[in-house]
């Protein structure tokens, strides 16, 4: 192909204009979603949890979580008065297929505790990342840029709640995204959608109309490991003192 000087003079500015669009990147998927208007968290109502494992299955379906790894899981606690500090905790396959029967005549109290990423606002996991692959998003969700992650697993060690793992195929860190692809479209998370009793509720702390504010005022709500000052945003109602 012969390009004359005249053609080149036309092509160059055209290419420059085209390059500007390439640089600008693809447009936002949800144009109505404004990141600065939200600050996401989760309310977990322990007295409502029946340990059915719906949330675990829904999460694995929605997010293609590999078998044997969990972004959310359910634990069953067995606390007796003698072993208040050392409760017996089980979570067979993350509670995905339910729990074994409680032995007859067993003493003490049994209850379920759903666990997931606490989406900490001062998260220890994002502070240790050496390459800027994990971060707290402007709307308060702890996310991983898997194209940037090296798989060094510092963050897996740093999370005090054990909510991260190295993806067995991608070989990079993986964790709960609070269904970022859903909440930015106005949907609730997959675990909340699948929970039959309303034991999990997505909460937007920046939305003054969100029922979470009334709930926090009227209930005794705690976070896990408050002594670690992680700014956890998974709020537990009715949390027993033995839960770690």
């Amino acid at each position: 192909m012969n390009i004359s000087r005249r053609h080149l003079l036309v092509l160059l500015p055209a290419a420059a204009v085209a390059w500007k669009f390439v640089e600008a990147g693809t447009p936002e998927a949800s144009p109505n979603y404004n990141k600065s208007d939200h600050w996401w968290g989760m309310l977990i109502d322990i007295p409502k949890c029946i340990g059915c494992g719906n949330c675990v299955r829904a999460c694995q379906t929605e997010n293609d979580v590999p078998d044997g790894f969990f972004r959310t899981w359910v634990e069953r606690y067995h606390r007796t008065d003698i072993h208040l500090e050392n409760p017996e905790v089980i979570s067979p396959d993350g509670g995905k297929e339910g729990f074994p029967a409680v032995p007859e005549g067993a003493e003490g109290e049994y209850f379920f505790v759903p666990k997931m990423c606490n989406h900490c606002s001062d998260s220890p996991c994002t502070q240790v990342c050496p390459v800027g692959a994990t971060f707290v998003s402007p709307d308060g969700v702890v996310l991983i840029d898997q194209t940037y992650c090296l798989g060094c697993a510092y963050c897996v060690q740093a999370c005090p709640y054990g909510c991260r793992y190295i993806h067995p195929e991608k070989k990079v860190a993986d964790k709960c995204t609070l269904c970022y692809h859903r909440i930015t479209k106005g949907l609730t998370t997959a675990c909340c959608e699948a929970c039959p009793t309303g034991a999990r509720q997505l909460a937007d702390l920046k939305n003054p109309k969100d029922p979470i504010h009334e709930f926090l005022k009227t209930h005794s709500v705690q976070v896990l490991k408050p002594q670690m000052a992680t700014g956890a945003k998974a709020f537990y109602n009715g949390l027993d003192g033995s839960v770690r």
């Binding site: 640089e23 990147g25 693809t26 936002e28 998927a29 949800s30 990141k35 007295p47 409502k48 949890c49 029946i50 340990g51 059915c52 494992g53 719906n54 829904a58 379906t61 929605e62 997010n63 069953r76 339910g98 729990f99 029967a101 409680v102 067993a106 049994y110 209850f111 379920f112 800027g132 692959a133 994990t134 971060f135 707290v136 998003s137 402007p138 996310l143 840029d145 194209t147 940037y148 995204t177 970022y180 692809h181 859903r182 930015t184 479209k185 949907l187 609730t188 997959a190 959608e193 699948a194 929970c195 039959p196 009793t197 309303g198």
Partner: protein, 165 residues
């Protein structure tokens, strides 16, 4: 100028440093993504990447736009707060293409037992049964309408059709 006469090797070395720095600057400009630092010390466009993951659970609002009859039955019953996909599974594919993707009806003998099998670990007020004692293993939908499970409480729709009239 006589003081700088023997300093040529220093200038050559400084020149090397300048070239290396410029090289670093140019390469850095190419390899660091454009959106890095847009919101913080990370690639800003990662948010868009993560948000583009496909949705698999359509959400009960989507279901209710078509299945209004079942939504009506359900709002009057004890399962009013149970979302469709809690039992039927992820059905965004069906919502996107209702004719070619048809959901499989869940087996009530297995499905109901997941929540309603008696266990001392479950909250006291939650309705629980021993499935073998209660029905001898027969599917729950034989007697109960899953969309409005209290017997006699549904709106005349038969249990077999799941509340659809």
């Amino acid at each position: 100028m006589s003081g700088l006469k023997d300093a040529g090797h220093l200038f050559r070395f400084a020149g090397l440093f300048v070239i290396a720095f410029l090289l670093f600057w140019v390469i850095r400009g190419y390899v660091v993504p454009k959106s890095f630092g847009q919101y913080g010390h990370y690639r800003g466009s990662a948010l868009t990447d993560i948000a583009s993951h496909p949705v698999k659970f359509a959400g009960h609002e989507t279901c209710e736009t078509c299945h209004t009859d079942i939504a009506d039955t359900k709002t009057k019953g004890a399962h009013a707060h149970v979302n469709c996909e809690a039992c039927h599974g992820a059905l965004a594919n069906h919502a996107n293409d209702p004719t070619s993707v048809t959901p499989v009806k869940p087996d009530s003998a297995v499905l109901c037992a997941r929540c309603h099998t008696a266990s001392a670990a479950k909250p006291k007020g939650f309705p629980q049964v021993d499935p073998v004692d209660h029905s001898g293993g027969a599917p729950c939908a034989t007697c109960h309408n899953p969309h409005s499970p209290v017997i006699g409480s549904d709106t005349g729709a038969s249990a077999v059709t799941g509340g659809a009239k």
